[in-house]
């Protein structure tokens, strides 16, 4: 009787830590969760990604309710990009179902590791400023009403902004949705990249809007994971509760922490886990 309780507590603890890290960088927590589950708890990758994907919704909805109040999340922007992420998620989830049924799990380990490592690059090369450089509005700015404003507590002023290159953002979002369905993560970093780099939006808007979007993306993929049996009730329950606790704590910290410190901590962990995932996929230890 003690065994199941300990196992449940381990699941909660691991996912709470992942949830905190995830909320800090606008990710679903799955980025850290899946490697820890598969590498250290020896969980089958299908169950790890299933629990991760479904608990991504908990991060998104849990933290999302707080962000809506701050009025930083741009709902129109997020909703528009969801067309691509949900479509991508369906394709990604069906692809991974094909791979698992053909015993190609090792491919997923390698892809997962590479995605982790590529996010390091994204983190380090991303613009070092809170606010993007000004680019002229284009046709999509007007058509899709990509305007907004929010109060920035760090800069202590009201920030007016607008987005450009909607189509480019949309393209990146399809890919982000695909990765989300394929790997069972929120792929928030890619979503942030799509908004911050492609659409030239402020960091805070990208992060919070990404957080809103990962829930809808993950819900789409989760239903496909469900029918293929990648969701194990005990594991998913512990994970969802843990991630929710972590996200709750993470949201409290987000307002106070600066972007730079988030990026360094984040990058170090990503490199470590990324290398291990690739090695596991190639059949070396771990």
């Amino acid at each position: 009787m003690i065994q199941p309780i300990i196992y449940f507590l381990i699941l909660i603890a691991v996912s709470a830590v992942s949830g905190i890290l995830g909320a800090l960088v606008g990710l679903g927590g799955g980025t850290f969760l899946v490697p820890i589950y598969t590498l250290y708890l020896r969980m089958p990758i299908a169950y790890a990604t299933g629990a991760s994907l479904i608990s991504t919704i908990a991060t998104s909805s849990g933290a999302g309710s707080a962000y809506i109040k701050d009025k930083i999340t741009n709902i129109k922007l997020g909703m528009g990009l969801e067309i691509a992420t949900t479509a991508g998620s369906i394709v990604g989830a069906l692809t991974v179902a094909f791979m698992y049924s053909h015993h190609l799990q090792y491919v997923i380990y390698i892809v997962f590791g590479l995605v982790l490592l590529s996010q390091v690059y994204i983190q380090l090369t991303r613009s070092k400023y809170e606010l993007p450089k000004e680019i002229k509005p284009d046709w999509s700015t007007k058509l899709f009403k990509l305007y907004g404003s929010y109060y920035d507590v760090v800069l202590e002023k009201e920030v007016n902004y607008y987005g450009v290159r909607w189509w480019l953002g949309e393209t990146i979002m399809f890919f982000a949705g695909f990765i989300s369905g394929l790997l069972g993560i929120g792929s928030g970093a890619l979503k942030v990249l799509g908004m911050d780099w492609a659409m030239n939006l402020p960091m805070k808007v990208s992060t919070t809007t990404s957080n809103f979007m990962i829930g809808v993306t993950a819900a789409t993929g989760s239903s496909i994971y469900w029918i293929y049996g990648y969701i194990q009730p005990f594991i998913a329950a512990g994970t969802a509760i843990g991630v929710l606790l972590g996200a709750f704590i993470g949201t409290k910290i987000l307002v106070r922490i600066t972007n730079k410190s988030i990026r360094y901590i984040f990058s170090a962990i990503l490199i470590f886990l990324g290398i291990q995932m690739v090695l596991r996929g190639l059949g070396y230890g771990f």
Partner: protein, 127 residues
């Protein structure tokens, strides 16, 4: 009450209901030591054979009525999946009310994608 408050509130309530169901399911599992034909050790294991592929709407409702711990956990997960769907549906209502046609259309497409994945795709795949 502002519309955004309604959305924020319903998200929070959805997540809390989900977490409560997941926790109740876990506690019931501990108390009973089994769920249906499966022992707790078969369920609480990394390599467990019990997963979502055995649970559809039908078995879920039956299981919940008979207080099957695993069914209650799954119900919690269903509620969790439903929160973003509700979020999008409320967004659609908001855009229609504001007579924002571009965003009403966009949100309708997103909602379609979601419902397609949840309800139509399973029957297309014959699972």
């Amino acid at each position: 009450m502002d519309f955004n408050d309604v959305i924020a509130y319903s998200l929070r309530v959805g997540v809390l209901i989900s977490a409560a169901l997941l926790f109740i399911g876990f506690m019931l599992l501990l108390i009973e030591g089994k769920a249906g034909y499966y022992s707790i050790n078969q369920i609480a294991s990394t390599a467990s054979m019990i997963n979502s592929s055995y649970f559809n709407a039908n078995t879920l409702i039956k299981g919940t009525v008979s207080m099957n711990p695993v069914a209650i956990m799954f119900l919690g997960l269903v509620v969790l999946i439903a929160t973003p769907v509700l979020r999008v549906a409320l967004g659609l209502a908001q855009f229609i009310r504001e007579k924002d046609y571009i965003y009403s259309t966009i949100t309708a497409i997103v909602l379609f994608n979601l419902l397609f994945a949840i309800f139509i795709l399973p029957s297309l795949l014959h699972l």
